[in-house]
Symmetry: C2
Subunit: 135 residues, 2 copies
Amino acid sequence: MTWSLHPKLSELTTEVGDLPLSRVLLENDSNYPWLILVPRMAGISELIDLDPNEQVQLLGEIDAASRALKAVATFEKLNIGALGNMVKQLHVHVIGRSSTDATWPKPVWGLAKPVPYEPEARNVLVKKLRHELKM
Amino acid sequence: MTWSLHPKLSELTTEVGDLPLSRVLLENDSNYPWLILVPRMAGISELIDLDPNEQVQLLGEIDAASRALKAVATFEKLNIGALGNMVKQLHVHVIGRSSTDATWPKPVWGLAKPVPYEPEARNVLVKKLRHELKM
């Protein structure tokens, strides 16, 4: 079984690049600085489906993605979540939240209409994220 | 600075017990099997505020809480989240979701009116959780 990115995850995101375990995606919604990490392992839907070493690797990548987001964007609080009720493929949201954002203090999912980035602004952001993540 | 549980977290939960790093709480809402892990460290609001060893310890406790929940309740998907927009004290939700539950497939936060457990049912559940978590 070969891993491939779930089409629903690719549809609304731009690829930032690959960390050792995860593909890093930028959600195409300028309401929030928002990354998604998707471990490149077929058939995995839960954190507890990963073995302990893989879990620790994913945790390190969540930490790195959080710090990269902090380095390139301004926000007050991180929201980290692995839900997967709509898309079963294991993916972890890392989102920067601000008290002025579209849905604060509620969670982001399914509430505000996405506001796509201008292509140029998105390219600049992706480039900065790649730099921070040493990609 | 001494750690103490945020009053908003104690208000709606029952204490299950302490793991090496975290206090484990049962959300008093029978809509979902729902645990909350709160690292007993003062002044911490983000996962990335923990050092790498503490992060790995918390991850192991999230794994243990997920498995304990699976052992005592029936559900289809885990939702794991560290948000903290309302209560800054670092806390991690571990929630069992089912396609028949009150808010599926949406996230749980702030949507359904909590349905408190009957005291006897809650005591039985807490006892089972303590057994699974070797408390």
